[in-house]
């Protein structure tokens, strides 16, 4: 009994003793921002940001028109002289994941961009495999690797904020795709955004579907901010229209489930007059549900994946494809080099976010590319295209 107690005492004391030793903290200064509260549906809706994005759609971006990944809308430039240093450079990249075709295409494009610049002699990439906790460790590990600049594509907005805050004082940080809730990165790169994406699709349906038409909204999954903004903008647009949104369903991005859901709706409502989607990955499966039911395919909102564009062309659909362009993966590398060169960069680097329409469909349809390739990769003229992206 006695031995047992002493063992327990040692167990209890060990951490305490260790604690008295040298104590270091990697805890970033500044607050984490888990601001989201449960069951408040409108929490993803930010009126000012919404209006800003809708306005940006019609503004003319600055920069070379043939290189949309270098263009910027409404830039507020920040000075980067303090980061100026001579090459060669070691760039580091903490990637959220490469677990879907969008990220695959983007990452290949980013690697190709890095290969274009001889002054980048080393490019270290850590893949967080979709795990917030791993990405936090990855960022901490990268800040100790002597990187000249750190690019971060956060897995989740709120939860990666502390990690980015921790990295900012040590190295210039460039964030893209999803943002973080802090101003500390030198630049945050993104296309116009989810509100514009959602509104583009909804406005198209409002224009093409007669009043009273039944709209089915297909969403991938709840809780992802870049997807929630799309849906909230679409809701705002539909609310002002005469269309009747008969349902909003989650598909998990699963083609079979999407097809089943759409078939059920066709069966239950007799007719569906328009489909809105927050991401186009399962658009073709949804179209097939109409084909298999033997009814005409109504106006459709998809995305710039080749399988959808091909279907659109082949079946002469009435469709639109808002995009979340994968060419944004080129911009962080360009931004890093500008920062290290002491050139000004915008604090919020808003890239143009074009949509594929009837008129420009043929420029984006590339039959030699894989079905899940994203047309707006900005990679068509890069070395190794199309083989590196799986084309032929």
């Amino acid at each position: 009994m006695k031995r047992r107690r002493s063992a327990a005492a040692i167990v209890a004391l060990t951490p305490a003793i260790l604690f008295l030793g040298a104590c270091t903290s990697d805890q970033p200064t500044g607050k984490a921002g888990g601001t989201a509260s449960p069951s408040a549906q409108s929490k993803f809706f930010d009126q000012a940001e919404y209006e800003a994005q809708l306005a940006m759609r019609t503004k003319t971006p600055q920069g070379p028109a043939d290189k949309p990944w270098e263009q910027m809308i409404d830039p507020k430039m920040v000075d980067t002289a303090k980061y100026k240093k001579n090459g060669p450079y070691h760039l580091c990249f903490s990637n959220a994941a490469v677990n879907n075709p969008w990220r695959q295409v983007g990452f290949k494009t980013m690697q190709a961009e890095v290969a274009l610049h001889k002054e980048i002699t080393k490019f270290t990439v850590l893949d967080a495999e979709g795990k917030d906790d791993k990405q936090i460790s990855d960022i901490a590990e990268l800040t100790g690797k002597g990187c000249d600049a750190l690019i971060v594509s956060p897995n989740t907005t709120a939860t990666l904020t502390p990690a980015v805050n921790g990295a900012c004082p040590k190295v210039p940080v460039i964030v893209f795709d999803r943002g973080v809730q802090t101003e500390c990165p030198v630049t945050f790169i993104k296309p116009i955004g989810g509100y514009a994406f959602g509104a583009d699709g909804a406005e198209f349906l409002i224009e093409k579907v007669p009043a009273g038409g039944k709209i089915l909204a297909l969403r991938i999954l709840p809780g992802v901010d870049v997807l929630e903004t799309r849906w909230s903008a679409a809701q705002a647009a539909f609310a002002k229209s005469k269309l009747n949104v008969v349902g909003a369903e989650f598909t998990d991005g699963d083609a079979a489930k999407t097809k089943s859901i759409v078939s059920d709706y066709i069966q239950r409502h007799g007719k569906i007059d328009g489909i809105w989607m927050d991401a186009g990955a399962t658009a073709v499966a949804a179209i097939e549900a109409f084909e298999d039911a033997g009814v005409p395919v109504p106006p459709f909102v998809g995305e710039d994946q080749q399988d959808f564009l091909k279907k659109w062309k082949d079946e002469k659909l009435t469709a639109v494809a808002p995009t979340y362009p994968t060419y944004q993966w080129r911009t962080p590398v360009i931004a890093a080099l500008r920062i290290l060169n002491g050139e000004q960069v915008p604090q919020d680097w808003n890239l143009p976010q074009p949509k594929v329409t009837e008129a420009n469909l043929d420029t984006y349809l590339q039959p030699n590319m894989p079905p899940l390739h994203y047309a707006l990769c900005g990679c068509d003229k890069m070395p190794g295209f199309p083989q590196k992206w799986g084309g032929k």
């Binding site: 097939e288 298999d292 894989p370």
Partner: protein, 320 residues
């Protein structure tokens, strides 16, 4: 057959409930559409049944389905003339993966939970290593017909489901079926009495692999290429089998009931959807129903020592 009775009652109740809120369900096309949708899961459940009744698990079928579809898309690449050779190859892949699972489980004495968990990681990693992260190519019209089109009024997938069901019943009535049940019931006693337990187990895994190949062909046909087509199917298939009253740990249950379990699960999804309990709470309802169904089945069964907690499938195989 007597043991299978409860699941058919549950299935019937669910079907009536669906029909009550959606009369179209009673018409032949409506019901056939339901069967067509349920066919891949029912076929997977049939395959999983053989493994479970032998006292094992197959967690690799979900990623095997993904592999089949991604391989088919890349090799066919939209070319209709490649359809039949690739179909044959897919069947071979399914059999080989099953064979590997079976051999590792029996000859190397690795618990099948681990064998197939490892296989799940290996398969999903390997196939995307091969295609560079995302699916490439396209399926041909001919390939897609099996999951998408009909022969007259009856969908191909329903016909294939019927054939699979018939073959499964015949297999279980043959010597092989008795061997398998004996092996699952009491591995040691079975091998002492001269039953070739290892061979039967390997064969069961091969059947499961084959069923994943067929399910992959139907699912790819139904929905087209996607990277996550097989995600989570292994758990659904095991759930379906267990819902059908088949006991994890082996030795009891019928294949027809296992397939009925799959139809029940699919009917449950349909019903929850119809009543708008879609979204998150659907999972909660599903969880409660699964536990309740198995609990009801377990309590009525005659008590078997240790069966509830540490069934033989988790045991290292005894070498006589």
């Amino acid at each position: 057959m007597k043991r299978a009775l409860p699941i058919f009652t549950v299935l019937l109740v669910l079907l009536i409930a669906i029909a009550a809120s959606n009369p179209y369900f009673l018409e032949p096309p409506g019901f056939l559409a339901f069967l067509k949708r349920a066919a891949p899961l029912a076929i997977l459940a049939a395959g999983q049944y053989f493994v479970i009744v032998a006292g094992e698990f197959d967690l690799s079928v979900g990623s095997l389905v993904t592999v089949e579809v991604v391989v088919a898309a890349r090799l066919i690449d939209g070319d209709d003339s490649a359809t039949w050779p690739v179909l044959a190859l897919l069947i071979v892949i399914g059999l080989l993966v099953g064979l590997a699972n079976g051999v590792i489980t029996t000859a190397l004495a690795v618990p099948s939970f681990i064998t197939t968990l490892g296989m799940m990681l290996i398969l999903s990693g390997a196939v995307f290593l091969w295609t560079g992260g995302a699916p490439r190519g396209a399926l041909s019209e001919g390939f897609r017909a099996f999951g998408r089109e009909e022969l007259g009024p009856i969908p191909w997938s329903v016909l294939i489901l019927l054939v699979v069901g018939a073959v499964a019943i015949l297999l279980m009535r043959a010597d092989f079926g008795r061997t398998l049940i004996a092996a699952g019931d009491n591995r040691r006693a079975a091998s002492l009495s001269g039953v070739r337990v290892h061979r039967a187990t390997i064969f069961a895994f091969a059947i499961s692999g084959l069923s994943a190949a067929i399910a992959g062909i139907l699912l790819g046909g139904f929905a087209g290429v996607s990277a996550q087509i097989g995600q989570g199917l292994e758990f659904q298939a095991i759930t379906a089998v267990v819902l059908g009253g088949v006991v994890l740990g082996g030795g009891r249950g019928s294949v027809v009931a296992a397939m009925a379990g799959a139809l029940t699960l699919e009917a449950l999804f349909t019903l929850l959807n119809l009543h708008g309990i879609s979204g998150a709470l659907e999972f909660t309802v599903q969880g409660v129903i699964i536990i309740a169904a198995v609990a009801v089945g377990a309590v009525r069964l005659p008590f078997r020592p240790g069966a509830s907690i540490s069934p033989p499938m988790l045991k290292t195989k005894e070498t006589p």
